[in-house]
């Protein structure tokens, strides 16, 4: 129990806790040549800040926009090499070199168990996908259930063994040492799951994790509406989610269809998605069935 009078002097708490954590103020070099640098903080802050001493990890300004542009470029290259329109399958192929994993698979559908395997990059990935369906346990099933990623950077460690007593050893036998599962979700909307594996243990770096999340976001949008170029979601806006919820009532459809209709309305009428969403939330605009058709 942390007593309030001790907690107030949080410097004490920091000292007490410091020994339990590994110091990590060394400069870090992320994959892809980007540098995530540490920097000595010299400003005279308050007592708490001085007590901390260690340099803050300053995230090099890799913005979401830059990251998304780069990831979309890699996906488009795959599609061009294949000679087809951009599809979720291209995400699967592009993510492997993109975040330096050994292989990937993608299944589409409401959940991993009911979904169908759309794409695998190699035989190990196929076995990993099959194993989870046969065994009924594994990172992708958990990711699909929680709506968040499941990152098992070492299938041989105790955590993974306890979590998936049957899947973990079977996956190791199949040739995987680490599995990373990304649910293809937008809130309550579920479009599928993206699985990545490595033949050596080790976590995704922060940089790779950020990229992997954007690959997964892109796959989600491609699965949901299959536009050649996913409509720009831009910076995160709560209004888009709120408007989607409102449309379930206005159109009497489920949340997935409401999202597709919202995006279709913006796309067909050539209006920014955020602007359409804002008008709907402010009740300046209501959609009725077929109202995504252009005026006239």
């Amino acid at each position: 129990m942390l007593l309030p009078d001790i907690a107030l002097h949080s410097a004490v708490v920091f000292r007490a806790g410091a020994g339990k954590l590994a110091a990590g103020s060394e400069p870090r070099f992320a994959a892809g040549g980007r540098r995530v640098h540490g920097e000595r903080v010299s400003r005279h802050g308050n007592a708490i800040a001085r007590e901390r001493g260690a340099a803050a990890r300053l995230v090099a300004p890799v913005t979401y926009i830059e990251r998304r542009g780069r990831v979309w470029g890699l996906i488009a290259e795959q599609a061009a090499a294949r000679g087809g329109r951009v599809s979720a399958a291209d995400v699967c192929a592009a993510v492997v070199p993109g975040v330096q994993v050994s292989g990937a698979w993608l299944s589409a559908g409401l959940d991993a168990q009911a979904g169908h395997l759309m794409q695998v990059t190699d035989e190990v990935a196929r076995q990993l996908a099959d194993l989870q369906l046969t065994l009924g346990e594994g990172p992708l099933l958990d990711a699909s259930g929680s709506g968040g990623p499941v990152l098992a950077s070492d299938l041989a460690d105790g955590d993974s063994g306890a979590r998936w007593p049957v899947f973990a050893p079977a996956a190791s036998m199949a040739g995987a040492a680490a599995v990373f599962a990304f649910p293809l979700v937008v809130g309550a909307i579920r479009a599928g799951v993206l699985g990545l594996y490595r033949d050596r243990p080790g976590p995704l770096s922060d940089f790779q994790l950020g990229d992997a999340l954007v690959f997964a976001d892109t796959a989600t949008l491609l699965l949901l509406d299959g536009h050649e170029r996913p409509a720009d979601l831009g910076t995160y806006r709560a209004e888009i989610d709120q408007a989607t919820g409102m449309l379930t009532e206005q159109l009497d459809v489920n949340i997935t269809d409401a999202f597709v209709r919202l995006r279709a309305y913006a796309y067909v009428n050539d209006i920014q998605l955020a602007d359409v969403a804002r008008d709907i939330v402010a009740r300046r605009l209501r959609l009725v069935p077929d109202s995504d058709l252009p005026p006239g």
């Binding site: 907690a7 308050n46 708490i48 340099a55 830059e66 968040g148 809130g187 989610d241 409102m246 109202s291």
Partner: protein
């Protein structure tokens, strides 16, 4: 300063070991207690998304304009500067502050004159920032800043020292799950607002109250409501039945 509430809050913020621990509920407590204890107008919490954005996870007010003001700081504002430097960043008079013109203007429109951002930081790891707003011009009382920082510190330590969170993987899993839960909550707010003809802020209050009454996590109730497996009625709050707004039919 309410000493008893402060003590109770510190206990609350160390209570991450419970079986049904929910990151969103936990951070929501941090923002509402910040408002109650620190005599500020609004508090919000932004967490770092590995995609490269700061994302709002919990706020003391769910009013659309306030939410927007918090989220705007993914682009510019004291939270972004605080997150990048790992140091507290504040402004005693936003109107006279040239650092974040768009942010200052929007803050003024909502009625906020002064701001303080406090890092959620443990040693070299900055996971987000706690953001406090006040309606009156003037520097924040040093005691307010110190206690606000202590609240943020205890919350950060509780999260990072939680046995299950010690793996970086687990922390990232939890943060992403929380961000997606936040999206589910927004979707539920919209659905409920439309169904009952209330605004999204009232819809949030209803959702939160009913989650408490049912002893359910907010994100679980929100998901069940969006999926259609649980119904929420207008038993608390004062919904209107009218549905204003024109029909967007071509």
């Amino acid at each position: 300063m309410d000493g008893q509430l402060l003590s109770a809050t510190f206990v609350e913020l160390t209570d991450t070991m419970v079986a049904d621990f929910d990151l969103i509920d936990f951070l929501h407590v941090l923002t509402t207690r910040s408002v109650e204890l620190l005599d500020v107008s609004a508090a919000g919490l932004l967490l770092a998304d590995p995609r490269g954005e700061l994302r709002v996870v919990a706020t003391s007010s769910e009013a659309a304009r306030v939410l927007e003001l918090f989220q705007l700081q993914s682009d510019q504002g004291p939270c972004l500067d605080c997150f990048r430097s790992g140091q507290p960043v504040g402004s005693a008079d936003l109107n006279a502050d040239p650092r974040w013109p768009q942010f200052a203007q929007q803050a003024g429109e909502v009625g906020f004159s002064a701001v303080q951002a406090l890092p959620m930081r443990l040693r070299d790891q900055v996971i987000g920032a706690l953001n406090l707003f006040r309606g009156t011009v003037g520097a924040f009382d040093p005691e307010v800043v110190q206690i606000g920082q202590a609240l943020a510190d205890v919350a950060t330590i509780s999260l990072l020292h939680d046995r299950s969170m010690r793996r970086t993987d687990t922390l990232n899993e939890q943060l992403q799950t929380a961000l997606n839960s936040r999206v589910v909550i927004e979707q539920a707010k919209g659905k409920l607002a439309e169904r009952l003809g209330v605004d999204v802020n009232q819809a949030f209050t209803l959702l939160r109250d009913q989650a408490r009454n049912r002893n359910q996590r907010l994100s679980d109730l929100a998901r069940a409501f969006v999926d259609g497996t649980q119904v929420i009625s207008a038993s608390s709050g004062s919904p209107r039945t009218s549905r204003p707004g024109r029909v967007g039919q071509p």
